[in-house]
């Protein structure tokens, strides 16, 4: 099936998602300026993916009032009775509901901004960001808002999600296991071990969005370690793969809700890591983390922020 055939009929929800995506970028940019640095390009590339997931794809339990981040509950262990994960931000669990897992927790700031945009975290939630004793960590862990498992050691997210998907099948649960992945994390062997196992056991309750923004810590993915042609590699491992424009919210939504065919589904999203913040292009190919070189650069980003804000108010 061609992706275009799955496109929904015209409606107003795409505008709503696009607005949320702009809000995600704006919040992350604002935060980057305030902090003197941040994972900004990740917001630029993945804003539409996150907004579409939370507004159109994920079937999650409701969160009636936006949650205020609680203090860090301590690490899990036998003595810690007050321990919690960040799963509450994704609403109550049920056998029909989906579960969402952020695999590259370097994208945590993007997830937090999303949770605010969709009304699951309080609008001042980012005030807790990277504060000692808090849970809104720069590289989130399972206690961070919207998170539930230990990811960020790249390659482990998909394997844990695979175990959860298998468990849900064994328990007869119908909800999906939805993963957000980045392109760089398709390099480790464990990622391919996991793809191998989910196709072997036909875990078609797995739906993975991969943000292919083309950059990783050291620079362009193709120069650090080529992963292409990723769709062919994944297909040959037995997955169902779509490759789309990762900023096209209608396609992101339609493919996320497409019927499964017995194979796990990967939606490869080609994205622009400077989308909405053109000044980021000056940093190519070092896109992984923005740390301002000085006041002059910071000023440019302040101007970009003003543009985003005005664009949003105008639209």
């Amino acid at each position: 099936m061609q992706p275009d055939q799955l496109r929904d009929k015209p409606a107003c929800w795409p505008q709503e998602i696009n607005r949320a995506a702009e809000g995600i970028r704006r919040r992350v940019l604002e935060h980057t300026i305030r902090n003197g640095g941040g994972y900004l390009s990740q917001a630029c590339s993945a804003a539409e993916i996150f907004a579409t997931l939370y507004l159109r794809v994920l079937n999650l339990g409701e969160v009636t009032n936006p949650l205020e981040p609680a203090p860090f509950p301590g690490v899990p262990g036998p003595g810690n009775t007050g321990y919690f994960t960040g799963a509450a931000y994704n609403g109550p669990k049920s056998e029909h509901n989906d579960r969402f897992f952020l695999s590259p927790s370097q994208y945590s700031l993007v997830l937090y901004a999303t949770l605010i945009e969709v009304g699951r975290m309080s609008s001042n939630g980012l005030d807790h960001f990277n504060k000692d004793g808090g849970v809104v960590e720069m590289i989130g862990a399972e206690h961070s808002p919207g998170m539930e498992i230990m990811t960020g050691s790249l390659g482990q997210g998909i394997s844990q999600a695979a175990g959860i998907a298998m468990a849900r099948k064994l328990k007869g649960e119908t909800g999906k296991v939805v993963l957000f992945l980045s392109d760089g994390e398709c390099q480790p062997g464990q990622f391919w071990e996991a793809v191998q196992v989910i196709s072997h056991y036909r875990l078609d309750n797995i739906l993975a969005y991969v943000d292919i923004n083309g950059y990783q810590c050291d620079g362009r993915v193709e120069t650090v370690m080529n992963i292409e042609p990723l769709e062919k590699r994944l297909e040959s491992f037995g997955a169902r793969v779509f490759r789309i424009d990762g900023h096209d919210v209608e396609l992101l939504a339609a493919l996320g809700r497409a019927k499964t065919d017995g194979r796990p589904t990967f939606i490869l999203c080609d994205t622009d890591s400077c989308r909405g913040v053109a000044v980021l292009k000056e940093r190519i190919p070092k896109m992984h983390y923005v740390r301002f070189t000085g006041e002059a650069e910071k000023k440019k980003y302040q101007q970009a922020y003003e543009q985003l804000r005005q664009g949003c108010m105008g639209g």
Partner: protein
């Protein structure tokens, strides 16, 4: 001495019958880790994960988060050496009830350095939330699954396979040393396969009037057994530890730490692999080469008490080792 075969294989099938949340994972070593009978009996609860241990450990973490108790089976080396980060982050940090059953501890394989787990206790012991058990006989093998199941968190087991002696009549009790003999001259702490060897040696040493408190240690972490420290306190010559593992980070280190913390000024001798890798050869050959056999222990005892005993290898091999009943049945000691 009673010798049993494929103890884990048969025990696991029976044990898991009323535990539907127990799932067994295999990394292409199904017969080699004695889970073939489980696979045949409960195919819906058995998953082949291929030679892909990193995924297997994280996958097990995922299963455990959903209420299952995964029993990961492979050779010990492939658990902690190949998937350490996965154990740390997908299993140990979240304190998930994944039970890692590691076979071929130490010198138990002629497979050589690639297959010999000589520093697994050292590595796993430093992981927070981890519990570590080691089996030394058939009753340990039969009861360690219960002990592991009762722990609400990750457990690493040094497991035995194939032909295994029955040294003890009762099941192991987590956190409690098994007392094999009592005496004031010397404390002897042994674990795993070393216990049987030590029993051969002590049965001969007794003839020379040496009184030894011999304890079998099956819980390596957490280690809070005061009876062990009490025995060391009361010993004339101090304590000897004997383990099928590097002397760095295993039983000898556990005891050294405990003694230092308690301020016990007694001599400690550690029998084990003396900070060396091992090579492929038979168990008997390696035991002798690295001093992990009864004769190795006797030589260490001779040094400790500064006396020569004329005990021959023939005497040792003929030494009869009978199953020991716990102190709960003192008449049988």
């Amino acid at each position: 001495m009673e010798i049993l075969t494929r103890v884990h294989a048969r025990n696991l099938v029976e044990w898991a019958a009323d535990k539907p949340n127990v799932i067994v994972l295999s990394a292409d070593l199904t017969s080699s880790t004695e889970i073939d009978l489980f696979r045949d009996r409960y195919p819906e609860r058995f998953f082949s994960m291929g030679i892909a241990e990193q995924n297997m450990l994280s996958f097990a973490g995922g299963l455990a988060r959903e209420g299952f108790i995964p029993l990961v089976h492979t050779f010990a080396v492939f658990i902690y050496r190949r998937a350490y980060d996965q154990i740390a982050m997908s299993v140990a940090y979240p304190n998930l009830p994944v039970k890692m059953v590691g076979f071929l501890p130490g010198i138990m394989t002629p497979g050589g350095a690639t297959h010999q787990a000589i520093e697994d206790i050292s590595v796993m012991r430093s992981l927070p939330n981890m519990t570590i058990f080691e089996c030394g006989d058939a009753s340990d093998v039969e009861s360690v699954v219960d002990a592991a199941y009762a722990v609400d968190g990750p457990v690493y087991i040094r497991m035995l396979r194939g032909e295994i002696p029955r040294l003890f009549a009762e099941p192991m009790q987590p956190g409690k040393a098994r007392v094999i003999s009592t005496g004031d001259d010397l404390v002897l702490l042994t674990s795993g396969i070393c216990t049987e060897e030590a029993m051969r040696a002590t049965s001969e040493l007794k003839k020379y009037g040496l009184s030894i408190t011999h304890m079998h240690i099956s819980t390596l972490k957490p280690f809070n057994d005061d009876s062990v420290l009490d025995a060391i306190t009361n010993s004339r010559y101090g304590v000897i530890t004997m383990e099928n593992h590097s002397i760095i980070g295993g039983l000898g280190t556990v005891i050294a730490e405990k003694m230092a913390e308690a301020g016990l000024g007694k001599k400690l001798s550690r029998i084990g692999l003396q900070d060396t890798f091992v090579h492929g050869a038979s168990k008997q050959h390696l035991q002798r080469e690295y001093g992990l056999d009864a004769m190795g222990l006797i030589r260490e005892v001779e040094r400790t008490v500064d006396t020569k005993f004329s005990i021959s290898e023939d005497q040792i091999s003929e030494a009869f080792v009978a199953a020991v009943h716990s102190q709960a049945k003192p008449e049988a000691l």
